[in-house]
């Protein structure tokens, strides 16, 4: 009798000890930038925030059964203000921060809030997972290396092994082109020619811009060596969307235009995706973007770790998220997990043509001793990341 009473009490205590208040924030950095080439890609006021809100709503629905409370506050900050924004959040006791920003601002926040758990939901720079990795940063956004590998695998599967690489002239474009060259080497693809399209700051979307585009682009890409596909490396969003129908030789385009490697898109309906889309559209009144999905994934990973550990302590959560016990359903057909050696989330990459997913990488036949997902991006033996010593 006594024993069963005791076990009942213990059961209650265990469930109370498991109740957690989980206060999180999302910092979105506002960059001065030109309008996108396509007005379909104009930034909405709730970009990334809506994804974070959906995750918090999902977490709260689950948390109610366990006594957890999830809250997320939104911070929109100028690039120069990110350190003070992070400090304010730390002063409010917030130790879990999603960052929707570029690499420099992400690192500034991570270094200013080293005791906080930082979730990268926006910066794809491969170096952030390598030489520039930080122990307190986990990456939800797939790296450029993962994306380039996803394209290369598909291209090899199709036997399109001769690439004509067309890149922009800005440092980010050159870096992205390097990713494609590395991926080509990794999967046995031949880059037959590389050409630069100079960013002259010209007319992009003016009234008659298309007239100019139609005359200029073919000339810039005329008489290339014999190739199967064109790979566009245009991180600056200057020319790539024009390539598919303005090439000299008609060829499929992949990379920054044509078939694009993305973390998610509003067309995905497989693997329960329809339910995610319906929930997101009901909440935000618009279609989901990668920024929203990445923020959703960040806070869902946190929510899952809280539910499984009963803790809201960032260090406990980080330990659990990097352990073998963590896995998450992310509407991509298989569980997503974190790489222990650099904090990058392993995940399938969708190859999206703007209307449908034409394919999903990793492709069949690319094998790996741990997980086929580790054929995308830097693998453990080749990582430069030193902050994740086990």
């Amino acid at each position: 009798m006594m024993r069963s009473v005791l076990s009942v009490i213990l059961a209650c205590v265990a469930s109370i000890a498991g109740a957690a208040d989980v206060n999180t924030a999302i910092i979105r950095v506002e960059y001065p930038q030109l309008a996108p080439i396509s007005r379909f890609e104009e930034k909405t006021a709730d970009l990334a925030f809506a994804g974070a809100d959906l995750a918090t709503q999902d977490n709260q629905t689950t948390g109610q059964f366990l006594g957890h409370n999830f809250k997320t506050i939104h911070v929109a900050a100028e690039p120069a203000d990110v350190v003070s924004a992070a400090a304010e959040l730390r002063a409010e006791g917030i130790e879990i921060i999603v960052v929707s920003a570029r690499a420099d601002e992400l690192l500034a926040i991570a270094d200013a809030a080293q005791d906080a758990l930082i979730l990268n939901a926006g910066a794809a720079d491969t170096a952030l997972r390598g030489a520039e990795c930080r122990a307190n940063v986990l990456h939800l956004t797939p790296s450029d290396a993962m994306r380039a590998d996803a394209v290369a695998q598909f291209s090899v599967w199709k036997k399109w092994t001769r690439w004509f690489l067309v890149r922009g002239s800005n440092p980010a474009d050159i870096q992205l082109a390097e990713e494609y060259k590395r991926a080509a080497k990794k999967f046995g693809v031949n880059v037959v020619e590389e050409r630069e399209i100079l960013d002259t700051g010209g007319s992009r979307r003016a009234d008659t811009g298309h007239v100019l585009v139609q005359k200029q682009i073919p000339v810039l890409v005329q008489n290339p060596k014999r190739h199967d596909v064109v790979i566009a490396a245009d991180a600056s969003d200057v020319f790539a969307p024009y390539l598919p129908f303005h090439l000299w030789d008609p060829r499929p385009v992949l990379g920054s235009a044509g078939l694009r490697p993305v973390s998610f898109n509003p067309a995905t309906e497989s693997w329960g995706g329809t339910q995610f889309q319906t929930r997101f559209e009901k909440l935000s009144g618009r279609y989901v973007t990668e920024a929203d999905y990445d923020a959703w994934l960040a806070l869902r990973a946190v929510g899952e770790a809280v539910v499984r550990t009963g803790s809201a302590d960032p260090s406990d959560l980080r330990t659990f998220m990097l352990s073998d016990d963590f896995e998450l359903a992310a509407f991509k057909g298989q569980p997503v997990t974190f790489r222990k050696w650099n904090g990058q989330m392993r995940q399938p990459i969708l190859l999206y043509d703007g209307r449908i997913n034409a394919s999903v990488s990793p492709q069949e036949g690319f094998l790996h001793p741990v997980s086929p997902l580790d054929t995308l991006g830097a693998d453990e033996p080749e990582t430069d990341c030193k902050a994740f010593g086990e």
């Binding site: 629905t61 329960g272 359903a329 057909g333």
Partner: protein, 324 residues
């Protein structure tokens, strides 16, 4: 004379009635009807938008279909295939479970995090029970005291008290729980987790309280573990064999429901989704969403014996027992 023959033919047809198999075709918005003795397709009739969950009344006279995109349950006559009436279901009904006496229908509303309880006679909504995110799997204990709902993003099985329509117990399971299935004596419950790749096994005590006693995992040589995704499940009434549909691996696992050992994998059509036994449990039927057919498995020999083409993207299957 001719009339007389016709008359007798009619009489025979209406009296000696074989089992009828009903398959909901998610994409063609229809239900396919198959003769359970000849395996012939009798007809395919419109069943509303995106039909998924499908069941029959205990007397076999009514067919209930979740018309997910119509946001209601359509009820058809199992002989004439005519629509009799509709039931309110709450938004996006996916799966449901009918009380053994046929009175109350418990419906999972995938988009609204609710289980809706509907009276099939008065056609009224009796209660809405808030559950986790993306409720899907539904099961009812044989004594009708507990309804189990699985929520796919919350990753829980919620045990709902059918007297009070409130949640009595919550159990965490693996990622994306799809389906729940009680043994016929109500002492054991199986919950499949599609993305987790497992089946959680609970023993159920006299009060309906669950205790996790094990977890079943699957492996097939030459098949990536990611493709072994448990979805639908059925257990034989003697509690001996559990069949688990493994989605995109195109296989049904045969599990010893007592030892929890996987004994066999049966190759079926592509993207195998839900399962149903024929009334005497001689056969198990599987819906194969990507090959647009159903596979018939001989339960005793645990072999696939035939496949039957149905509509587009078959989702659910149920059998109305025949009249002999």
């Amino acid at each position: 004379m001719r009339l007389l023959v016709l008359f007798f033919t009619f009489l025979l047809a209406s009296v000696a009635h074989a089992d009828r198999i009903f398959v909901s075709n998610e994409r063609s918005n229809t239900v396919t009807v198959i003769d359970g003795s000849t395996w012939e397709v009798l007809t395919e009739f419109p069943a509303g938008l995106r039909p998924r969950g499908i069941t029959v009344s205990p007397d076999g006279s009514k067919l209930y279909v979740c018309a997910s995109d119509d946001n209601l349950v359509r009820v058809f006559d199992t002989s004439s295939y005519e629509e009799l009436f509709t039931l309110p279901s709450g938004p996006d009904p996916e799966l449901f479970v009918l009380e053994p006496n046929g009175r109350r229908l418990y419906i999972a509303n995938e988009d609204d995090n609710l289980v809706t309880v509907v009276d099939t006679q008065t056609k009224e909504v009796l209660a809405e029970v808030p559950v986790g995110v993306e409720p899907e799997g539904m099961a009812i204990s044989p004594n009708a005291r507990i309804v189990v709902n699985t929520s796919e993003t919350t990753n829980m099985a919620h045990f709902i008290d059918t007297e009070t329509n409130t949640i009595k117990y919550n159990m965490l399971v693996d990622q994306r729980p799809r389906y729940a299935e009680y043994t016929s004596d109500g002492t054991r419950l199986f919950v499949t987790a599609e993305i987790g790749g497992t089946v959680s096994v609970f023993d159920i005590d006299g009060d309906g309280a669950p205790t996790e006693v094990g977890k079943i995992s699957f492996q097939v040589a030459g098949v990536q573990p990611e493709w072994l995704q448990p979805v639908g499940a059925k257990v034989t009434s003697d509690g001996q064999w559990l069949f688990v549909a493994l989605g995109p691996s195109n296989r049904v696992a045969v599990v010893d429901a007592k030892t929890l050992e996987v004994e066999k994998y049966i190759l079926v059509g592509e993207r195998v989704w839900q399962l149903a036994f024929t009334p005497g449990e001689e056969y198990l039927l599987t819906t194969n969403g990507n090959t647009n057919d159903i596979t018939v498995i001989d339960v005793a020999s645990q072999e696939a014996v035939r496949s039957i083409p149905v509509g587009q993207q078959p989702w659910g299957v149920i059998v109305a027992p025949g009249i002999n």
